[in-house]
């Protein structure tokens, strides 16, 4: 893709000309993230988080490949080899802490990335496919993170594997055979550990492949922007390089400072002490919760404490948890408002704020013990989560009166747009 004014790659030296005719890789890079990719000039720092997620994935792959050089995926020695990494391998402690906290930071930036998409309606036409592929990446990330957490073979690893595969046991009739098949046994053991290791190594590369599709799909219409108004003319854009390489570079610096602060000064803050106890199939930890990034979904899972008609509570919780994510696949068709940016949607803005608070509350509840008042609050929070997408959003799209949109990105930035046809049959902001 590109806009008609996008600059074309022009090899200068004989070598780059020779290469361009045989393998136009520099041309691809120039057009994808170089001076040949025009990007809206008004992107704010929330647009940094895609690049940050990509960097987080690369860090996970690098530290992960290194740890696989020292880790042994065997139930007898997995825990010991993890401690071997922590104590004996040169810099092993740093690499493992970077991997464990890297997973957390990956989810932090991806959650911000997702909520950026929700607020600015980045999922709307013509960008539905970017959103759908992003959700696929999110699901792959969750599967990868879960299986990675099993590998140290501590108490939380073991019981996490048992509980999460137990979710499949809730499926009627075939549930228990499926759970047994997934584990390769009747409880997590060597077979499960080995297949989780194999898949934990594979899925990041599958994720990288889907990310390429995600970026490809992004480059067809180009990035959205904080006004939600599509690019109209050259003055609406700047070349990706150097403008957004510099802006992303600055954001990356801030990200790395925060990451290193946790990595070096609070490496176990986001973890569970119980996972430093070797897996024991005969003793469940007193308070078993997944990693923090699963807490909102865990809260929805536990919200169902009652049978509904013939559907048992266990199955309802599992269905609700999966539905809470699958629901997002339908979002481009649930939100019918033609206006993209939340900045111009006063009613949506309020309910978006409530949704963020609701997900944060669910996150808190997912990490809390399964007792009152947390269970009741989880039920209310889960109900609101579904109501937001299935009831509130469609209604808002109908009744909301959006604020007037700027004529163009240039106008929203400079207050006037001399290049376009200002004064044409488009909405003008009230002066």
């Amino acid at each position: 893709m590109s806009f008609s004014w996008a600059k074309h790659y022009e090899p200068k030296s004989d070598l780059t000309k020779w290469l361009d005719q045989r393998l136009p890789l520099p041309r691809l890079v120039y057009g994808a993230i170089g001076g040949g990719y025009p990007v809206p000039r008004n992107l704010n720092y929330f647009w940094n988080f895609g690049v940050l997620a990509g960097v987080a994935l690369v860090m996970q792959i690098v530290t992960g490949i290194i740890m696989a050089m020292h880790y042994a995926p065997n139930a007898l020695v997995a825990f010991d080899s993890t401690e071997h990494i922590m104590r004996d391998v040169n810099w092993g402690w740093m690499l493992r802490y970077a991997h464990a906290n890297g997973a957390s930071f990956f989810f932090i930036v991806v959650y911000i990335h997702i909520f950026r998409g929700l607020y600015f309606s980045s999922y709307k036409a013509p960008r539905e496919m970017i959103w759908l592929l992003g959700l696929v990446i999110f699901l792959l990330m969750m599967a990868t993170a879960f299986m990675g957490y099993v590998l140290p073979w501590g108490q939380m690893s073991f019981w996490g594997a048992k509980v999460i595969t137990g979710l499949f046991g809730a499926i009627p009739l075939v549930g228990e055979p499926i759970q047994t098949w997934l584990l390769g046994g009747f409880a997590p053991d060597n077979a499960a550990l080995n297949r989780f290791f194999s898949l934990h190594y594979l899925l990041p590369f599958v994720t990288a492949g889907v990310i390429i599709l995600h970026i490809w799909a992004l480059h067809i219409p180009g990035s959205s922007n904080p006004t939600g108004v599509e690019v109209k003319s050259e003055s609406d854009t700047v070349p990706f390089h150097p403008y957004y390489t510099a802006k992303d570079g600055f954001g990356l610096g801030v990200f790395l400072i925060l990451f290193c602060s946790v990595l070096f000064f609070a490496p176990n803050f986001l973890g569970h002490a119980d996972n430093y106890i070797p897996a024991n199939p005969l003793s469940t930890p007193a308070h078993i919760v997944p990693e923090w990034y699963f807490w909102p979904f865990y809260a929805i899972l536990r919200a169902f404490t009652f049978d509904f008609f013939i559907v048992p509570a266990k199955l309802l919780g599992v269905l609700a948890m999966f539905a809470s994510i699958l629901l997002l696949f339908f979002l481009p068709w649930l939100d019918r408002s033609p206006v993209r940016s939340g900045n111009y949607r006063p009613l949506f803005k309020i309910f978006f704020g409530i949704l963020v608070a609701d997900v944060l509350l669910l996150g808190y509840l997912g990490g809390a013990p399964a007792e009152e008042p947390y269970v009741m609050l989880s039920q209310l929070g889960s109900a609101y989560y579904f109501a937001h997408f299935l009831i509130i959003l469609p209604i808002i799209s109908k009744i909301e009166k959006p604020k007037p949109l700027p004529y163009s990105i240039t106008e929203s930035v400079l207050g006037k747009d001399s290049s376009g046809m200002a004064g044409g049959p488009v909405l003008q902001p009230a002066e």
Binding site: V62, I66, M69, H70, H84, R87, D88, V89, N90, W91, G92, M94, L95, G249
Partner: protein, 190 residues
């Protein structure tokens, strides 16, 4: 700082009289900072492949040689590599001393390859200096080669009774590690 940057009418920064813009300085500073940081990150990523603490902790081995009679040898393991400890007979010591050192590929006397007063104890790595196979000759019944020491079956290197290379492709004598006698019968290797 504003006086350092003169602006053209189209708003772009003009080049300073000495040809250097502030932006050039910022670019170089930023890229250098990122470069040094990136290079520093490579240190742990590369050194993690060096021997870990538990491997280094096995760096020395103690061996009781009281049961090794003259003419016998034992194999032991040091740093996961085979070690030959050989109690030479007087005849073997004589044979080693009779050789003209100048004629050897890797000139060394037996005395240089053993500890003072313990010339009958020949301690070497059991690793052929050609391509790393384990030579024969330490265990009873094994071929000792043309010179009565060790013989490497992989590519036919012959070592003499001082484990010096005499014939075949190996470039140097079998390696003598650092070792000491803790008592008359206990050797500490490494």
């Amino acid at each position: 700082m504003a006086e350092q940057v003169t602006m053209n009418q189209d708003g772009t920064a003009a080049i300073e009289s000495d040809g250097v813009r502030r932006r050039d300085f910022i670019n170089i500073a930023a890229v250098s900072f990122a470069g040094v940081g990136g290079a520093t990150v490579l240190i742990p990523l590369i050194t993690q492949m060096a021997p870990s603490k538990d491997v280094l902790a096995q760096a020395s081995t103690e061996v009781d040689v009281s049961a090794v009679e003259p003419g016998q040898a034992i194999k032991t393991v040091w740093r996961k590599q085979p070690m030959f400890i050989r109690n030479l007979t007087p005849a073997e010591i004589d044979a080693a001393n009779k050789v003209d050192v100048g004629s050897l590929r890797d000139p060394q006397t037996l005395a240089e390859r053993t500890l003072e007063g313990k010339t009958n104890w020949l301690v070497t790595l059991g690793v052929c200096t050609h391509l790393g196979c384990v030579p024969l000759g330490a265990a009873q019944g094994e071929v000792k080669g043309e010179f009565g020491g060790y013989f490497c079956p992989c590519h036919g290197s012959h070592y003499d009774t001082a484990a010096r290379i005499r014939k075949g492709p190996a470039p140097t004598n079998l390696v003598v590690p650092e070792y000491e006698f803790l008592s008359d019968t206990v050797i500490k290797i490494g």
